[in-house]
């Protein structure tokens, strides 16, 4: 082989090796991960070097904090030994018994990490170049070598440990009810002879509820809540165990102290002072809690060991890269990506089921991801949600309608500060709504729902309703404008200071808005208006109407014109619209977004600068700071488009000012502005 081809081959190999290396860590994430967050260090360091980061306001604070907790000579984030130009991951793996929260990081220099631990006086062991560290109760495990760093925090699930077959197998006290009874009885004192020997007897006696502890004989028990409560609120009498006590205090509130009067008749403490009493109870409880915790931790540790076994040495064939949906979500341009395989499952896991009482409002929501992009001229957050076929087709039907093109004739981008445009097909919505409700509540309320659905269909003519309110709307916020308002005050005549009520006017800064909605059938609306006039809540002006209810803080005017209902706070504007004299002005960017998407939101904070009245904020400095921040924020756009291939996606974007180098540096400068 000549030199050139040798070189080419080496190059190809090293490139492949590099990409394999970069992908190596992804390979380490298990296929059944319940959430994965990817942070692209390389993308971030390209936007801002570590040196620049260290010089920013936020950067300095972060390094300060890290240096404090690391207790070593660490000056910058580079000193910690991680490869900041590569990708960092967080993932969660869980089953019915335990949840693991893991952080996977690429290592640049393992020796620096070793140093970190040594300086913090945290002991770790090394086997075959793999270092391992376990925290005091082994709920946190850290492993690293010169390639990767894995942090695992394990949390055993109470719901698993409280299963009768599990608690029996592990020798845990049986789960108790949540009620506390009021009767106060004497307490079973602890004898000091042999604390360990007492555990199985006294500990269970003080901890268990009415159900018998598995290891003990049945006893006559009375309940006492008095001391338990006192114990939680009081100060820890055993200072060393303060941390653990606090941890268990929450659990303890639901357990009763069960007192046994009959088993130990030699109650020397029955009538002595209560402080001695509570101290005995404290010790007993602490020891009991300690024992339970040790059992649970041992179980969790054994599972954790199994979970991490071979994570450094084994090359697994099944990893998250086998998940097509995850692989599709990988985006090298996104600085941060968060992905979950099933929204329905994640929500159900996070939110206790009892809240929803069997109603599954997340049914049909599949995988989701959120991506964070820091580009040259904008910060973008993109999100997408995969729906089940059923939900997907329902949403497609509902999102069929687009915003009425005629709305654009009543928008002036020089005037407006922000707008929100939405479009949905109200006929489809009314048709799909009962079906959606059925899916969510069907399992619990199927009979009631069937009747309700039929009633709904019977009473509602979706076609007719959709003609009155078509389902699209556009709300325009025209900023704050000073308006004249009247108010009553008093004048006192010079003669005898008699009080005269007079009406005066003053200028008040009020929000100006205009709302539009499409309509085809205006018969009902006109009837409503006529009724309103009759009842004197509506005043007919020559080309529009004014809504006058005392409850209204703002004056509201409305009109129906060109198959559109207009409601606004500016009478002149409504008049111009009705007389076809409105001056519209809208760039194609806005036009395209509004007409293409089902939801479009725009807001220009710059236009708010100087509009907030001085009296509103507590101080002049606060007002100045608010104006400064508003001025430094770019225009914000939010949009969400129609469902494509069962994927529902949305995006939020903020333009960054031209003078900024890139989005990351811009973000840091905003943080600085806010913090200072």
């Amino acid at each position: 082989m000549n030199h050139l081809s040798k070189f080419t081959v080496t190059a190809i190999f090293s490139i492949t090796a590099l990409s394999v290396n970069a992908q190596n860590l992804l390979h380490k994430i298990p296929a059944d991960a319940k959430a994965v967050i990817t942070l692209k260090g390389g993308n971030l360091t390209q936007l801002m070097s570590v040196k620049e980061f260290n010089n920013t306001f936020a950067g300095k604070k972060i390094v300060e904090q890290l240096a404090k907790s690391a207790k070593g000579n660490f000056k910058t984030i580079e000193d910690f030994g991680f490869d900041l130009s590569s990708d960092f991951y967080y993932y969660n793996q869980s089953n019915d018994s335990v949840s693991y929260n893991c952080v996977l990081a690429p290592v640049k220099d393992a020796a620096q990490i070793d140093e970190l631990f040594k300086q913090a006086q945290k002991k770790f062991t090394t086997t075959d170049k793999i270092r391992s560290f376990y925290n005091h109760d082994s709920t946190e495990v850290i492993l690293w070598n010169n390639k990767m760093f894995l942090f695992v925090k394990s949390d055993g699930k109470e719901s698993y440990f409280s299963r009768p077959e599990v608690s029996k197998r592990l020798g845990l006290p049986a789960p108790t009810d949540f009620g506390l009874k009021d009767s106060i009885t004497t307490v079973n004192p602890m004898t000091d002879e042999d604390p360990d020997a007492d555990y199985s007897v006294a500990a269970d006696a003080v901890v268990t509820g009415t159900e018998q502890p598995h290891a003990e004989e049945p006893r006559q028990v009375k309940k006492k809540k008095h001391t338990v409560r006192k114990q939680q609120k009081g100060h820890s009498k055993i200072s060393g165990k303060k941390y653990k006590r606090k941890k268990h205090a929450k659990r303890k509130t639901v357990k009763r102290i069960v007192v046994d009067e009959e088993v130990q008749p030699e109650e020397t403490y029955a009538t002595s002072d209560s402080t001695g009493y509570t101290e005995e109870i404290d010790t007993a409880l602490v020891h009991a809690n300690e024992r339970i915790r040790k059992i649970k931790n041992a179980a969790v540790l054994s599972w954790t060991r199994e979970m991490i076994a071979g994570s450094f040495t084994k090359t697994s064939h099944t990893s998250i890269l086998n998940n097509k949906d995850f692989v599709k979500s990988i985006d090298d341009k996104a600085e941060l990506t968060a992905w979950i395989p099933s929204t329905e499952q994640s929500m159900l896991a996070l939110i206790p089921q009892t809240i929803f009482k069997g109603v599954n409002i997340f049914k049909g929501y599949g995988s989701a991801n959120v991506k964070f992009y820091l580009g040259k001229d904008a910060i973008r957050i993109g999100s997408s949600l995969t729906l089940s076929d059923e939900m997907g087709s329902a949403f497609t039907r509902i999102n069929k309608r687009k915003v009425n093109k005629k709305f654009l004739n009543y928008m002036n981008e020089d005037k407006l500060t922000g707008y929100m445009a939405y479009a949905m097909d109200s006929k489809a919505y009314l048709q799909e709504y009962p079906k959606l409700m059925n899916k969510m509540y069907g399992s619990v309320y199927s009979d009631e729902l069937n009747m309700a659905t039929d009633l709904f269909a019977l009473l509602l003519d979706e076609e007719a309703v959709s003609k009155v309110i078509k389902g699209d709307g556009l709300f325009i916020f025209n900023g704050l404008t000073p308006k004249e308002v009247t108010y009553k005050t008093y004048e006192y005549n010079e003669d005898n200071f008699e009080k005269d009520t007079v009406t005066k006017t003053k200028k008040e800064t009020m929000p100006d808005f205009l709302f539009m909605a499409s309509t085809e059938d205006t018969r009902l609306l006109h009837k409503l208006i006529a009724y309103g006039v009759k009842k004197k809540v509506v005043t007919a002006m020559h080309s529009y109407y004014e809504l006058i209810t005392p409850k209204n803080p703002l004056p509201v005017y409305f009109a129906i014109h060109n198959d559109i209902i207009f409601i606004g706070s500016n009478a002149n504007e409504i008049e111009q619209i009705v007389q076809n004299k409105y001056q519209a002005k809208l760039s194609s960017r806005h036009k395209n977004e509004i007409l293409k998407n089902n939801l479009t939101v725009y807001f220009s904070s710059k236009k708010m600068v100087g509009k907030i009245p001085a009296g509103e904020l507590a101080s002049v400095e606060k007002l100045e700071k608010t104006n400064k921040i508003l001025n430094s924020l770019g225009d914000i756009y939010i949009k969400s488009g129609p469902v494509k291939g069962n994927v529902f996606s949305g995006e939020m974007r903020m333009d960054i000012p031209a003078k900024e180098q890139n989005a990351l540096k811009y973000l840091f400068s905003i943080i600085e502005d806010v913090e200072k």
């Binding site: 939405y422 709307g473 709300f475 916020f477 704050l480 308002v485 108010y487 009553k488 005050t489 008093y490 006192y492 010079e494 003669d495 005898n496 200071f497 009080k499 003053k506 008040e508 800064t509 009020m510 929000p511 808005f513 709302f515 909605a517 005392p550 409850k551 209204n552 803080p553 703002l554 907030i612 009245p613 009296g615 509103e616 507590a618 101080s619």
Partner: protein, 225 residues
Amino acid sequence: MQNKTLSYLLLLLTTCFFSSCFQIIEEINMTGNGSGTVDLTVNLSASKTKVASIMLLDSINGYKVPDKQTIQKEMDEVVAHLKNSRGISNVKKKVDFQNYIVSVSFAFENISNINNINQSVLKKLKINTTSNSSYLYNVAGGTFQRNYTHTKEAVTQYNKLKPEVKNIFKEATYTSIYRFDKPVITSANPLAKISKTRKAVLLNTGIPGLINGKTNISNKITLSK
């Protein structure tokens, strides 16, 4: 759904952007024998936009917003309280929900009947004055006295409020008017003005001064015999 979002959006905007100020007016009309009438008015009309927006909410800044019925009920309680007070009669109330003005009027046999009454009425209207006022009318001597002592409690309570709430008091004013059937010879308080007919004394001051104790509204008025 869209209407709810729209109205919520509007409410958010309106409650943020209005300044507020209110007036408390206290009028006392004295007759020669020591009896008289009192008229207490709280006028929120200058902030009616803000008040109207707040009335649409359930609570604001951590305080619960009363609805119209609750306000009417509380006003009725004020009236009942006054009717039960010694020497007080002819109690009337007026509540104007269009302009947000509330007033209470009553007659008294002796000015000492009203010592602390005004305070307790204002308290029922949720205006904590935490100051002490006592009135004295010496028929023989021809003197009318209002003794006002400010308590530090007012400052402490005020300082506990959030800045947005403190703002409400910035432009609030207090006006007291005392009218007599005999001409006034002297009025001790330099802030007080005497009317053309010399039969009335008016004192107008900002409420912040009353809160921080810088303004003293005590007065000793000497009437001609």
